[in-house]
């Protein structure tokens, strides 16, 4: 019996987006990263349809985190006071192709640092590493609106990825990202309709959809991962069906979500095996699952987890 042919033709595909700008392009990056471009569902069709390789963005915090478990913190203990050294370590030692500076320290409850601090961190990291940057606020609307525009300005010309804008708070960051020619992360709380709505809102402000990345909110493995998984699958199908408002590449935040769950954090847990290995494996497995549903950028934290996922990506994507 001959094998039937699978003929699926899709009206649309995932947008292609490049982060970072080299000297010739008006920035100072020594490398750029291109994501997106998938023309089928994950592993659907041929390997050529899969678009660009997914990329891991390693997290660098603007201020020393005080709640990281030892298993995670020990990898960065020599650089935690200096985001520049931290970023450099991620690139030089752990092979990061993309760095996500997370401005936790500006949050009113977590240090309440000012714009001056955030701008300095941005400049320092830009100077220390040649890879493109993601600059991610603290998720306090008021503080983000006050600080992130200045961060954006400090990175002008570098073609960074700025985040995040939400349905309730998108105007100031969208305007500044437009002015400084950066890219933008639109965030929704695991709700595909809101996700589309935010994209419509920023698009209405004149922001080009080709410069948007979607963040559907991420659940850690065992803590709602499957919700993010299915939303991402639905987004990919919407993109392929030709829905321009859903055709953006997708970013996940596996690092932060993983390292607040007990399976990753807890040291002494009877029957759960080595704590040293458990956390990194929990993070790696969460990331690998979300890659199956169509993720283009994954924020991660533990170098061992990064290594496992990077190997997987290199083995599976061309």
């Amino acid at each position: 019996m001959p094998i039937p042919e699978i003929t699926e033709s899709f009206a649309g595909k995932v947008n292609r987006l490049t982060l970072g700008a080299t000297i010739e392009q008006g920035g100072t990056r020594t490398s750029t990263v291109t994501v997106g471009g998938a023309e089928n569902v994950v592993y659907g069709g041929s390997t050529e349809d899969s678009g660009h390789k997914p990329v891991i963005a390693m997290d660098v915090l603007d201020s020393r985190p005080d709640d990281w478990p030892d298993v995670l913190a020990e990898n960065y203990k020599d650089v935690m006071e200096s985001p520049a050294d931290w970023g450099k370590k991620c690139v030089d030692e752990f092979g990061a192709e993309l760095i996500c500076v997370k401005f936790d320290g500006i949050h009113p409850d977590k240090g309440n640092k000012d714009a001056e601090h955030a701008v300095k961190v941005t400049q320092d990291v830009l100077q220390a590493v040649g890879v493109p940057l993601i600059l991610w606020g603290c998720d306090d609307d008021e503080k983000d609106n006050e600080v992130m525009p200045k961060v954006s300005e400090a990175a002008k010309g570098e073609n960074v990825l700025l985040g995040t804008v939400t349905e309730d708070n998108y105007k100031s960051l969208t305007a500044i990202a437009l002015a400084d020619k950066h890219n933008l992360i639109t965030e929704a709380p695991v709700d595909i309709n809101i996700s589309k709505q935010v994209n419509i809102l920023v698009s209405d402000m004149g922001f080009p959809l080709e410069r948007v990345i979607s963040f559907q909110a991420t659940g850690a493995l065992g803590y709602g991962m499957e919700y993010s998984y299915s939303i991402q699958e639905r987004q990919r199908l919407a993109a392929l069906s030709g829905d321009k408002m859903m055709a953006m590449p997708v970013i996940c935040d596996v690092g932060y979500e993983t390292w607040r769950v007990k399976e990753a954090r807890q040291q002494d847990a009877a029957g759960w095996g080595s704590a040293e290995k458990r956390g990194p494996i929990w993070e790696a497995v969460g990331a690998i699952c979300l890659l199956q549903s169509g993720a283009d950028i994954i924020r991660m934290r533990h170098p061992k987890a990064v290594e496992i996922v990077k190997n997987f990506i290199d083995n599976v994507w061309q």
Binding site: M1, V42, S46, G222, G273, R278, W317
Partner: protein, 444 residues
């Protein structure tokens, strides 16, 4: 794949004789498609049409069972490519290998270790549910002896892995009452393996180098009378495994290509990290049985969690019973907080309360399995629902104080809640992870 009403209509006599009780053949066809009528109601339908309709009605993917008693497992009969389209039905059977090179104490230790791979997560037991005995020694006697030891040392379902029909014969003769899955029949051993499978009523894995060869082989074995088949492709790279697995799932479900309409098994290769990665991805991407060498809990627990997550019914939020729960040994002065009966919400709160080491009561209110914010915006969580839960749970008999800690996200309901219940409302943290800090610093 089920036929549409119109497709069924084409196979009917189109006489509109009304003898089926429906006004027209088309109406009857529509009812058939919705499974509201039976084909037998039509007295004039041709034999040919009957056959076609029956074939179309058969599920596109076979259900295969192995193991016996409480430890019988079943795989296959999936219906969709994406879990949101319906759901995935039969959770991936995570299997750990035992080499027949081991013997005596070493072998028993390995079996014990696999038996112990059982965990409780969000109120459910999850575990490794099969052991694969692998014929690495090359000897039939050693293989049979190892299979017998596994049978004695474990209740779990068994998979017997050898390319040699002699070795399989020897091992099956010791274990057939446990209905092991036989792995694997290849082109050159298909006849002998099929015979062992048939004689002992054990399901059979067929293995080939390509999808084309695999579908020919499965047809051949099936025509020899073995219907309970599981498919696998010979040693592939992770990339080939994932693309092939996806293509096979599309062919079996979307194209109803019967030669591939069986569950699949993956034997995962590589070092521990590679195995973790390959296993996690193949659980997501359609492998019904995943066999790994790693037996460490820190590897198995996350993989079992993947199975649990991916096979959760997306249309039905997992719920806990709405009632009063104790964490630790709370007394009449212990804190009381409420949350919703969405399982994920409850177990996150429970685990954070537990880690605070402050004995507490958690009052679970019925929000039809939705999270705090979803429930509040859908009016499934309001002051009446909470007041109701307080009453039903008799919590007033358990505690002396009248202070209720509420989720930070619904701080806005404080006023009305105080009015309705007469309790003092304390606004707790928004994030469950901050509960320990809150209980230590704010409560009292």
């Amino acid at each position: 794949m089920a036929l549409s009403g119109l497709e069924i209509f084409k196979l009917l006599p189109k006489t509109n004789c009304k003898e089926c009780g429906k006004p027209t053949c088309l109406a009857f066809a529509m009812q058939l498609a919705q499974k509201k009528a039976k084909l037998e109601d039509c007295p004039h339908v041709s034999e040919d049409a009957k056959e076609k309709l029956a074939a179309a009605a058969a599920p596109p993917m076979q259900l295969v069972k192995f193991g016996n008693g409480d430890n019988e497992v079943q795989v296959g009969r999936e219906t969709v490519l994406f879990r949101h389209e319906e759901k995935f039905y039969n959770p991936t059977v995570l299997t750990v290998t035992v080499s027949d090179k081991l013997s005596g104490e070493e072998l028993n230790k390995r079996i014990e270790k696999i038996n112990s791979l059982e965990f409780e997560r969000v109120g459910q037991q999850i575990k490794v549910n099969a052991i694969a005995v692998v014929n690495e020694s090359g000897s039939s006697e050693k293989f049979a002896a190892a299979a017998q030891s596994v049978k004695q040392g474990s209740e779990l379902a068994m998979i017997l892995c050898s390319d040699s029909p002699e070795a399989i014969e020897a091992a099956v003769s010791k274990t057939s009452d446990r209905v092991p899955l036989i792995a694997s029949a290849k082109e050159d051993t298909a006849e002998q393996m099929a015979k062992i499978s048939k004689d002992n009523k054990c399901p059979l894995v067929v293995k080939a180098p390509s999808i084309e060869a695999l579908s020919q082989l499965s047809e051949k074995v099936k025509s020899g009378g073995v219907e309970n088949l599981v498919l696998t492709l010979e040693d592939k790279s992770p990339r080939e495994s994932l693309y092939n697995s996806t293509r096979m799932r599309v062919l079996s479900l979307r194209k109803v290509f019967r030669p591939l309409g069986y569950p699949t098994i993956s034997f995962i290769q590589g070092d521990e990290s590679e195995q973790v990665a390959a296993a996690a991805s193949l659980i997501c991407k359609y492998s019904n049985i995943v066999v790994v060498d790693a037996a460490e809990p820190e590897v198995i627990l996350p993989l079992l969690t993947v199975v649990m997550n991916i096979f959760t019914d997306p249309q039905k939020p997992v719920q806990v019973e709405p009632k009063l729960y104790s964490v630790g040994e709370p007394d009449e002065n212990s804190p009381l907080m409420f949350t919703t009966n969405f399982s994920l919400t409850y177990y996150t709160v429970e685990s954070d309360v537990e880690s605070s080491r402050v004995a507490s009561y958690i009052l679970v209110v019925d929000t039809e399995g939705t999270s705090v914010l979803t429930a509040y915006s859908g009016d499934k969580l309001n002051e009446k629902v909470v007041a109701d839960a307080i009453k039903k749970s008799n919590v007033e008999e358990h505690i002396k104080h009248r202070k209720l800690i509420i989720p930070g996200y619904v701080a806005v309901m404080s006023g009305k809640l105080e009015e309705t219940t007469g309790w003092e409302v304390m606004v707790g943290p928004r994030e469950s992870a901050t509960i320990p800090k809150y209980l230590k610093e704010v409560w009292q």
